[in-house]
Subunit: 246 residues, 2 copies
Amino acid sequence: MRIEDLLEIRHLHLFRDMAQANFEVLMISSYAQAFPQGLELIRQGDPADFLHIVLEGSVELFAQWSGRECTMAVVRPVSTFILAANIRDAPYLMSARTLERTRIVLVPASDLRAMFRRDTEFAVAVINELASSYRSVVRNAKSLKLRNSRERIASYLLRQSQLAGGVASYVLPVEKRLLASYLGMTAENLSRTLRTLEADGVKIDGARVIITHRARLVALAKPDRLIDGPDAVAEQNGSGLPVARG
Amino acid sequence: MRIEDLLEIRHLHLFRDMAQANFEVLMISSYAQAFPQGLELIRQGDPADFLHIVLEGSVELFAQWSGRECTMAVVRPVSTFILAANIRDAPYLMSARTLERTRIVLVPASDLRAMFRRDTEFAVAVINELASSYRSVVRNAKSLKLRNSRERIASYLLRQSQLAGGVASYVLPVEKRLLASYLGMTAENLSRTLRTLEADGVKIDGARVIITHRARLVALAKPDRLIDGPDAVAEQNGSGLPVARG
DNA sequence: CGAGCGGTTGAGGCATGTCAAGAGTTGTGG
DNA sequence: CCACAACTCTTGACATGCCTCAACCGCTCG
């Protein structure tokens, strides 16, 4: 593995505080690998043998049931996914595929499980990571159950604007098709609703979002820190969608 | 606190493996308290000062936004809730109210956070608890996004039957109104759909569920271990709804 | 150039929510 | 002990949000 990769991984909350020697032990048995676009990295139901760390590119986490499929999250550099499955030594609940060429580090799950028994700082980091992730999914579930699709879209657009520093215009970080699935609706419904949102203070031009009347959009989205963050974990990566830890 | 209470708490996965002396330290600063029915124990947004352990009774976790409300989980003895908020030292994402007279032990969150730095076994238990809880919420989100209301109801009824030991008849553990909210639909919709499910192998008589043609119900519900469990955490309590760790 | 894909738009249908009313049950206070 | 209020549950009528199917556009890429 490259030295720059190691440094980036070391900067993650998860690995930041552990002893250097222990970090090196973990990394010795790990290896980086590059995957082409559209490759299925893991399939839900498979045993969780490795913690995945995304170094470059992006990965979609999605779930399937009865022939249907939905996007659960998108993971961007530098962050990890499916930590929970690794810890439980349980089958993945979600599948993962690359959205573009993606470089990933694989850390053996058994080493992880051994390590947080030996390194207290690492154990604490894992606890914080899992607690944050748990809260992220709860926020997500709240949004799904309490908001209708129009409100979910408005909240998302507003939140993206905030993450970009409160700008009035930005480009969507994911395809609309994927965004629709993430937000729990069909692509057609997203497309139509985006149109009608022009009356509520936001204009869409292709992948570009232009907030024309922020107050109006806020009135519709009613952003809530107990749903839309702020969330330390989600802030850590630059993605529009929250990090998931599987 | 009563000695029986202490023993029951000690049997929880969360506290089972820690050193006895450390367990006693935690319990010294904790106290039990009984609350009447319908009391709001915590309000979403408030600081998470105490871990809650339900000894008797039952507690509903629910979320509110923009005048709407939905049930997120029901917690039954003996189990804990809002662990994640305690750990993050962050505001509750959910509110909680008693569904009946309920006895609860309150453990100061600051003591918890100090303890998993001192007791490795406790840290490992917290990690496992959080990882399980995370997976539970992910299952929940999958169910919401991949199934329609008819399928969610069928899955729920089937899962309840399994939890009761595969029996063909049992009594719903919660009011239908609450169940509807938990499953993400209106009470009217639940009532109507339960009626039409008679054609799919399950009959409802008040709060009693009678599975008349299991195969037919299974064909509709398409139960999936990656959504419906088995889940070690959910099994731990007798509730129909999964435990939540807030 | 043609195939494939993402996105948009329209027509139509179904699922789900809303509003309203009434039956049955529970709890309470006179 | 009864009357009443409050509540759950059910049912009907109706509205609407969202999905499905289909067609079409524009773009990319082989």
